[in-house]
Subunit: 284 residues, 2 copies
């Protein structure tokens, strides 16, 4: 199972995959990306990820080259070559190589990178025991709806969680409201309704988020897409986080204090199971 | 005059300089950088730039490898090899290569990149005629004092300026106060005093800014390091921007309206000349 990369038109071993030190992705964070989970060789929700990549690219006025329209085919081809069944497919498009200068280069060709690596299996007790989260200030820029590689604030937040022995950092904007996690969307359950921050410039419109909200509605759960306070989260009946690679993960402690009864909640369990079933259905 | 790069211990032609697509600088903007102007083969204010690089690295908890302590020597060696007299020296340190994961990698070795390119000569009429600027919302993260490569908001702001036929975008935080330019610090002159935003998390502590403020004081000009409004800037007697590569550039129009009498101001001229003299003195 080789780890495969595709860089600007060529497939290669991931360990050989390089870009120029003057690539704008390296010098300016001038690019966008997607992460797709592949189950038994089938990319899940690939179309949704490609559409979001196009939206992100459009948000930074990055013209998508013909190559990127073919990105789906290329991703599938990279996956096939890797022979990795349970894989994480990573796609990144940057504004390309150019001598360093802030403004857009006039003639640069976007850099297209795809990598395939094995997915890390979730620890078997994560779903049963849940995870701890901490809250941290949301210090990110004001266009978090654009999935760019300017991820340093996310990195610093995630590292704070790791240092605190927690699994995720939940970000609080202006000391007032929960936006999302360092690499996840955040949900609270209160009186059988599912709460999460609304789409807009302060959060990433998560693919898993959208699927889980759809499943919640299918299961008759009221869905409230409104900002809520850290206090609301701390006093919720249940809480969970979602992401492409993590799926649905119950949260049982926030900033060291138990949430709900300190165990994964029943609605969280319903949604996690429904998500797994959706994955099975779509990748059958 | 070859364009030279140093990447992780080796000197090479800039066109051969590559990093892994999984370098955290490429995937996470997880790194810091400096730009140093070299005059007739001598790097200007190199020590100040190296100290700021250390501060930025410390701000993101990036341990500086032995190699980076030697960064000054390596930079001088890269410059010597390039034989470029009027050069822009670029230094970038990232958290290194690691399989993609937000939290700090346990065993990654920081990536050190140095590049040397010829400085672009300023158009001869820039100092005489001044430049136009536009104002744009400051959408950056909340730690602008850290000189990281998460520069997408700066890129987008600069591109707006280019599209508007302006030279620089002046960023307005919360619709209320001027922070800095997309790649410059911003100054206003009013009643013979020099105003600029204070050091802190909302601006980069510019090397040129500090030198110019020192020169202003030496010339008996009162210096006010306080935030000012876009209206204050628009009604200033004079305005100018500073950066390592641009030095001191007079601004004569903001958002299409003339500033002061629409020509570079006398105090700006004094400071630009004093800066040139400082460069000559220090690089003699």
């Amino acid at each position: 199972m080789p780890e495969i990369a595709f860089v600007n038109g060529e497939f290669m071993d991931l360990s050989d995959a390089r870009v120029s030190v003057e690539d704008r992705g390296f010098q300016f964070g001038d690019g966008v990306y997607e992460v797709v989970r592949c189950y038994h060789g089938v990319p899940f929700a690939l179309e949704e990820h490609l559409r979001r990549l196009e939206r992100s690219a459009s948000g930074i006025e990055l013209g998508i080259p013909e190559e990127t329209r073919r990105l789906g085919e290329l991703a599938v081809e990279a996956l096939r070559r890797s022979q990795i069944a349970e894989a994480v497919l990573y796609m990144q498009v940057t504004r390309g190589w150019a001598p360093r200068n802030h403004a857009f280069p006039e003639a640069a060709k976007p850099t297209v990178v795809i990598t395939v690596r094995p997915a890390k299996p979730a620890p078997p007790d994560r779903a049963a025991l849940g995870v701890s989260v901490i809250t941290v200030p949301d210090e990110r820029w004001l266009r978090c709806d654009i999935k760019s590689t300017d991820l340093l604030p996310n990195v610093m937040a995630k590292q704070k969680a790791v240092r605190a022995g927690a699994f995720e950092a939940v970000m609080i904007r202006d000391g007032a409201y929960v936006t999302e996690g360092a690499s996840t969307n955040v949900f609270a359950v209160k009186d059988d309704a599912v709460y999460t921050a609304p789409e807009g410039p302060r959060i990433l419109s998560g693919i898993t988020r959208a699927i889980v909200l759809g499943l919640a509605r299918e299961h008759g759960m009221p869905v409230v897409e409104e900002f809520f306070t850290p206090e609301f989260l701390a006093r919720a009946d249940e809480a969970f986080i979602t992401s492409t690679t993590l799926e649905v993960v119950p949260c049982v402690r926030v900033d060291g204090r138990p949430m709900g009864d300190g165990r994964p909640g029943p609605l969280t369990h319903v949604l996690a199971s429904a998500y797994s079933a959706e994955v099975t259905k779509r990748t059958a």
